[in-house]
Amino acid sequence: MFIGQDITRVDALDKVLGTAAFAHDLKKNTMLFACVVRSSRPHAMIRKIDTSAALALDGVVKVLSHKDIPGENLFGAIKKDQPFLAEGRVRFKGEAILVVVGVTEEIARKASGLVDIEYEDLEYISDPFLSMRSPTLIQDGGNLLSHRKVIKGDAGKGFESSYVIVENTYSTTWIDHAYMETEAGIGYTDERGHIVVASSTQNIHYKMKEIARLLAIPPEQVRVVQATTGGGFGGKLDVTVEGYIALAVYHTKRPVVMRYTREESFLGQTKRHPLYIEYKTGAEKDGSLTAVEVNIIGDTGPYISYGETVCLRAAVHATGPYEVPNVLVNSRMFYTNNPVSGAMRGFGVPQLALAHESQLDEIAQRIGMDPLDIRMKNALKRGSLTATSQVLNHSAGLLETLKGIEPFWRARRKQGPGSGFGLGCMYYGIGNTGISNPSSCYLTFTPEGRVEMHSGVCDIGQGSDTVLLQILCDALGMEEMGIDLVRGDTDTSLDAGSTSASRQTYISGMAVCDAAQKMREYLEGQGYYSGKPLKDICREAAEKGLPVFNGHFDPPTTAPDPETSQGAPYATYAFATHMTEVHVDEVTGVCKAVKVHAAHDVGRAINVSNVKGQIYGGVAMGVGLALMEEFVPGKTESFDNYYLPTSMDMPEVEAIVVEDPEPTGPFGAKGVGEPALIPQAAAIVNAIKDATGVRMRRLPCDIERLKLALEKNKIE
């Protein structure tokens, strides 16, 4: 048995020894260096570009513009709307305009500073409220990207019959992924004449297709390899350096390397969507929720990226993990000239968790109910209907996570003034929302008698390689890990989809199970399970060609109704409850998260250490989201003015793993990547209220905001 064991990660030794080759480490002889010239304006027409000084610099090989793109100059994960290189107009500060290729990094960067660009400024649409009023259109179709509704029952009637109604506004800001490794990669032409790009990425097949479109060559002539990747969190789902590298290789016929500085990463890459959330909650005297009405307004920046995804996912998760008979959600996403907002761990759900968890605490306070009791009362459970009227037929362990927290909650004691405790719950649909999001893989043997797993899954540090191997070993009934992993390379693997939406354990895990099932039948026929050594089976099979077993899985979902979003957008959901103890220094406004109990229903923990690792990391990100992280467009440049929690800001975390097996998942597993983050900020904000009496509705609740709120509270 490998499932449920703490198997040492297959990548651990290389990383500990420092021998793993991250994208930043990749080198080739005669390689050139490329860097991007970016817009210094948030919204402007480009009147003139003078590259003569850059080109005159010794060592500059090429300066490439949109005119040098042989194929389509548009990319996008959902819709193709963002130019690789701006054509006449820039729509955010940091938008790519040119690629400068030089013989060294120093020369390329120096040359990029010598490019002279004349702009004619257009109106800077700095927020979605301006965007909805302004006659200035950022995209031809108008400034509204997306409007999604969730309608269930009759919210108006629900409020009429409510004993208590709580109505508030919440807001969140831009968050940077702040991975340890900035975007980087290398490209070259191989002996077949194919374009090869190895990069720090969360998806290889998607990027292969984007490069093919950019260069107008068949995807078969593009090979994308995932280098060892130092974190993603959604930020490496969009095309980052890959397009520019491919374009530079195409024109120079030489290896080209790119690596963003931290400043470039801050300036050029996607952020978490800032959301404004108007939230109205109704409940009966006994705490049962009667109705929820939510109005979400989001800032997606000038291009789509994952804007529509976040718009919809935020809407369908708006009620939180509770049974609410009457729901009305309006979720709208507007274009602005702020940074492109894209995918980031949770796709809008952490923002909504802040709102629904704060609301629930206020309801509880108004009716004199314990925060844990009101959550237990309303918790989704097996047989419940979600906000989209999906029946939860299978794994739904929210109550078990609440029960896991209960002893600690009931035994909580304030440690003097400034001490407080808060709860946060969440549910999260695993995989993409209401669309097909399949994963494929294949298995074969080596002539020497080992199983070979070909996986297109990008392990970005979360440990999917190890988890998939554990799943395969158990699915094949192997007693030791006799498997070779061939991974992260479009030439040797099938499309597994992106490492996003907490989907790889569940979806790619099922694809592995599917392939394993076929291989197992073959092995059965060959006598493996009656004792014939694999070596012998493979030697014999090698003569007529080693067999290949494909695996495939696409979770069963239904497309949400376009008007009401009713339906079953996800095949399964993860659930969690966090309890956070904080200490607030009322003199300084410093809030320290002291201790966290985090209970997660993961279906089945394939690798307990991995699950706990995700929970610890998610809590750390939640601390940042709640207390300090804030990207200010035009101001934030680097870690100098972007505060990320350090180990000294980390609370002690006790992870509680709850296993309510999911029958459609591999050995019952669901996912935990994003769930680990989602409820933490809400739990912190609720704990601050408990500690100080002050309710913080705007994130981050940094020392200055908290102190000012405390002062204001004193006066009132």
């Binding site: 990094e105 120093e106 960067r109 500085t261 009322e586 003199v587 300084t588 406004g589 410093v590 320290k592 207390l627 300090m628 505060y643 929690p645 350090t646 000294m648 800001d649 940094d702 020392i703 200055e704 102190k707 000012l708 002062e711």
Partner: protein, 278 residues
Amino acid sequence: MLPKFASVIAKTREEALSWLSSLENPRIIAGGTDLMVRMRAGKQYSRVIDVAGVPELLTMTETDGRLSVGSAMTHARLSTSEPIIRNARSLAMACGLVGSPQIRNMGTIGGNLANASPAADSIPPLLIHDAVLVLESKETRRRVPLEEVIVAPYVTSIDRKELLGSVEINPLRGYREGYRRVAKRATWAISRLGVAFAIREDKGRFTDVKLAIGSCTPMPFRPKKVEDLLKGAEKNEAIITEAIRMALEEIKLISGIRPSYAYKLPVLKGILEEVLRG
């Protein structure tokens, strides 16, 4: 990217002084925690003299009741140095709060002073210890009080050709001494506010009070009028309230009203209350 630059490593104080005298527009580097950051941001310093290993700058001596601290001593060393903890507790605490372990292992007290940031953690403690800087060039040697050396944020009266050799401080014994600071996160952060204090009390009276406030005005400063008010005064809430009022007034007098004061002044008030009440 860090630009290319030429550097020499001085092995002795003499060598450092003669490089300073002979090189055109020289720059001194010790830990590099400020200089390298500026260079990476685009500043060009072409002649850099590394003094991190100069033995004379790494020693601490006690003479005539004054403590002389070598300018190249790191924050890490000072924060754990027994004589500093015994004689200047606030300085040891402040040095222990600078940046991160890496920065404390590289950054030096001399660099912190020469950089003259309004938020430099070592400056408020040094002010309450009446620090005097020993500045040497090949031809001259002068001793200047810290208050006179810093003339504006990030500007000092140290000549390009001068080397900050050491910092002399008055030990304070028998004081309740410390350093309180506020930052946006637990560590690796620039102070939003720093207060160094050394207070001696006897039979319900303040017999001596030394205060220095950093990160609030263009230069860290000692509210001397407040110190004078408290010296000899009976310790009670009324005098503490009055002292704090005066301190806040003095800040407004120095800097006018700044947006950051909406946060900083209430916090300073709270910290001074805690500090004075003890």
